[in-house]
Point group: D2
Chain length 363, copies 4
């Protein structure tokens, strides 16, 4: 049985009425037709400028390393937010990743300590207590390396200085983004694009019953971002990342590369791999066992416009008041909300490109 | 891409670990293994006793006619509930269906005028204002043919008189069922099985943003039934019925049969067909255009134990407080609710059997 | 400072514009002006017929005994509902009260085991585990004395047999009443009046943060009753009963009467008195320490039309979805709900009459 | 009937057990006993430093003018927030007030355009469309006079520069305050005190059914502030301001003063007075007709420590999810939330002092 509302590349190229009616687009037509796409956005990453907002657990680390490995991608700053672990741990983890990649010049900013309402959700230590596999590095850089400027102020400033040129990749709770909007209402329109890992399409929760962790950790922030960020918004939801998993065999090869980066990754990833493969987190998995590096799908989409081969273009929002569903992303497939702004919800990707980006990350 | 959590008959017969871990069952193993199944429950419908609770729109009518056409099925009573139309219209519609099938002896009971909280949800007149395609019959039986005994009292009495032998098929809002439980706490355990058309598995709404009509029309009743009916419970959800649709070509052949029943169906179905095929309801459809007789899937499952070939065995409940998700069925795939009672959520059916049952209904 | 929206008898007799504008009525004008009041409803209780619905804790017992002591009051039946204790304990407690008053002929009916949604709220054992002070009576009547007819069916039948003549006094969760409405939509209009102990006027909770026990124990039932019972509805809310408390000195005199009834009351009341006077429940009390027999205010209002001297006439409803406020009664003072039906929320009573009714109850 | 939980000065001085048990304090004992009160906080306003956060309607203007008229009070900055009118109108209104008082040197900062969730609540134009009585001034200062620094950044900076010395008076929705906390977690503890006009004590709404405007306009912000600002917090709730109203006769004398300020006030107040006295807003009023300058009670409390003569010391929070009660302040009188931090909810004030402060404001 083919997954609902998924049209393959070939069908869409035929411009079938069904595809158009259901608001489904594939990679190529989007590149050609989207009105916001004025600059060159080919498969190459020529001159891509990124802001990266993370709650740096292991898959955030993988996503940062993926971006650092692409020659034409420029990371203007990395902002930290509480999520997988405390914001101080997140800051330390980002510094460690940058050190492992020998890129200490990239500025790192401390952001929100807590979600908007202040009630912290436990991440359940999938990534270890420190968010990076509890594999401490005695020579890790200190917090004095963090910028004095706060994350929200820095995000607003950088987006303004590079208005229309910078894409924001958000792989944690969206607290900093929501704050940036309230500080500067122009923040979203200064962005070229927004790439989010978070949310659900099919009500399959991985932390609460129906909600994905990043959205469940700060539902109000997710609500604000999905409703008020009117820039082009691309979302890698939890179920999508599960369906796009890689085999563990790939992971073995990936980690076996003879490089400092690969050895670093092996150390910090061991904890999560043990947890995953040991079956503790099987109930959360939507499509069975496998290597799901959630945040990397959002990053890959930001890096390479041809990575995503099918989107569901649909208005989205977030449930705030549900007993079982608080934090769940909702899709307005019936267009009951009458929203003009639609998000691009990722449906299908080029896994060969993904593997290539992943391999490069640890070279 | 294969739909999540769906294991085909063959795989399950192999008793693959994946299938067992994910609580997925197929028709045959269920018949053999379920502890509650003491009587003969083979593909034949030998001696099946049914109570049918309907909000008789056109697909309820189709479901009733399907059951009436199976020789060994005995309908002990039909209880009516407000839903697709007012309860008085529902009563009239059921009487018309029984007349068309020349089965006026089956007792019909009037049930709840309103959902539990009293706030009626409009059915949007998909089935016409009168619920039966606005194709009035001047010779239709009058409401004096309705039993004096109320639906809830009758359901409680009949279930008690045939304790352990009667299956309840519910194709409307679950108001009467919830009331019956509060009147007689033994009501659920007197049932051999409960077959429901209603609810969602993937947050795809057909009346509100995330909720299916029968559950959205009385979320409290659905909550009560899913949480307190501890009898074997089989659910045909909205997305499942969409994925299991028949081609319109089948419908044409079906209606073209030379019989009074087929001509009756053609008259009452015209309105819905025009609405469906005209595209007005396309946005609601989950898996594209087609002939989706929702209620018939629940009825077929009650009639023929071998009809359903794959279930998802999972604890379920209903969201009551969500802004976008009120009335949405939730699946506790992570077992966070610690509920012992699991429902059998239909995943895959034998469509050839379904076509045969459908054809027979109008013969 | 005079309590808001409270106009004394004298002011109202002057028909001051303020009083009329604010929908405030006093006892006498109501008797003369209310359109539903066709029969004689003077201070005397001539021919009063009552249905009493209780979750028989100690103050329910006091209310029943108050009614039994008034010559012209006829109790047609007592229906039991889960609340202060299990419905079986409630049934036993009512039988004990009737035995203590030598009125075993009054029929007692078993009602709902659970509130509508099925989630039971603990009453915190203010009235003891058995609801009647944990002072067991080895000679107490057995449950075989309970009627075979269920409470809801009996309430519907009795109200229908005495249409327009019977007042319903409800001193527990309103589950049975809500059920009776769904079974017989005419049930409310068959009632002459409805007298409720329950709900709040000022968001002062006594079981949850903002909700009174009877409403918090079944918020859906309270919602249904306040929104769909269009008969004259009189409500003794929690804060009102606190403000109308009697001094403990009165209680001492009351219990010191030389009668079987007084000795019975002393036994069953000891537990609650110890709890109250010991300070354990001080935080719940709205207006300081004192003897608050909540249910008796609703009963006294039903018995004697001149008992209540000031009402607030206002549309009311119940909050169902609040985190802190679920079960809280809400007053629509700004008329935002546009409801025609207004309740009479008790504001001031004749305490001398109350004392007289109380004293008579134990004579 | 005396208002609940109100103990007069005399009673409290006697240290009556009731007063202590119920957490009620009067002005003097608070001054003497509160541990946070290290500096001189006598009736004089010697050296008081204020930050003022407003959604400048007419009563905000009155509050600002009250503070400007007290010699020893120093306003370090006025931050603007959307509420009674748009944030740009608020900015203009504050500039007009400062001009009318010849205090153009006080810095004014633009804050949040929208509440946290982004959904604006209409203020119903009680203060006119422009928030200041629709009495435009062609010579009003332009928005170029607004500081370039944003309100949140300025609040954080000023509180840090004057740590422990500055009191914050908030008379609009609490958006800016909540933002400041997330930008700088130390913000609350840098404040000497927080004085809020907003919220309810008795569920009497003035904009929605149960909620006061400032809290209803941004419930999330109110929730954050009441739960995370651990500085001494004084709240002038809606019902309290209604009970503490002044007679319209006072208002007439007040406005009749021969001064520029009085003439300015008369112009901008005419619209609200017409609305109030014309009866359009009578239904909202809790304690009958009168002159209720809500924001001035919070300001007077910040200016003069002896102004408030009775508080209710109680933990408070805000309902976020209620259907009728969203935005309602809740009092945890039963201490169910186990919160250590208690707010000082104003119960009784010295109205003579209030009149004197009011008169001085327009001199």
């Amino acid at each position: 049985m083919v997954q609902l509302a998924l049209i393959r590349f070939e069908a869409a190229c035929n411009n079938s009425p069904t595809a158009r009616n259901q608001g489904i687009y594939t990679g190529l037509p989007i590149c050609q037709s989207l009105s916001h796409s004025t600059s060159v956005r080919a498969g190459s990453a020529m001159g891509k400028k990124l802001l990266v907002d993370v709650d740096c657990g292991v898959d955030d680390a993988q996503a940062i390393m993926m971006a650092l490995a692409v020659p034409d991608v420029q990371i203007l700053g990395i902002s930290c937010v509480s999520g997988n672990t405390t914001v101080d741990n997140v800051c330390k983890n980002v510094l460690r990743v940058l050190k492992a990649c020998q890129r200490p010049e990239i500025p790192v900013f401390r952001g929100a300590l807590k979600p908007i309402l202040g009630n912290t959700l436990s991440a359940g230590h999938f990534h270890g207590q420190d968010g990076l596999g509890d594999a401490p590095d005695p020579k890790a850089p200190g917090l004095d390396r963090i910028q004095k400027e706060g994350a929200v102020a820095a995000m607003v400033r950088i987006a303004s200085e590079h208005a229309g040129e910078v894409s924001l990749v958000a792989t944690g709770p969206l607290t900093n983004l929501a704050m940036a909007l309230r500080i500067d209402p122009n923040f979203p329109q200064n962005l070229k694009g927004l790439y989010i890992m978070g949310g659900n399409t099919d009500s399959r929760g991985n932390s609460t019953m129906c909600a994905e962790f990043n959205f469940a950790a700060d539902p109000e922030a997710a609500y604000i971002v999905l409703n008020e960020f009117l820039c082009p918004t691309y979302i890698a939801c939890w179920e999508f990342t599960c369906h796009s998993k890689l085999p563990w065999e790939f992971c073995d090869v990936w980690l076996a590369q003879d490089s400092e980066k690969a050895r670093f990754m092996k150390r910090i990833f061991q904890h999560s791999m043990d947890a995953s493969r040991g079956g503790c987190f099987q109930k959360e998995m939507v499509a069975g066992d496998g290597f799901v590096s959630c945040d990397c799908y959002a990053m890959a989409a930001a890096i390479d416009d041809s990575f995503v081969t099918a989107f569901h273009k649909v208005a989205v929002s977030v449930e705030l008041t549900g007993t079982y569903t608080r934090g769940m992303m909702v899709l307005d497939t019936q267009e009951l909300l009458k929203k003009k702004h639609k998000a691009f919800v990722m449906e299908q990707v080029d896994l060969e490109k993904f593997k290539a980006l992943m391999m490069a990350a640890l070279k």
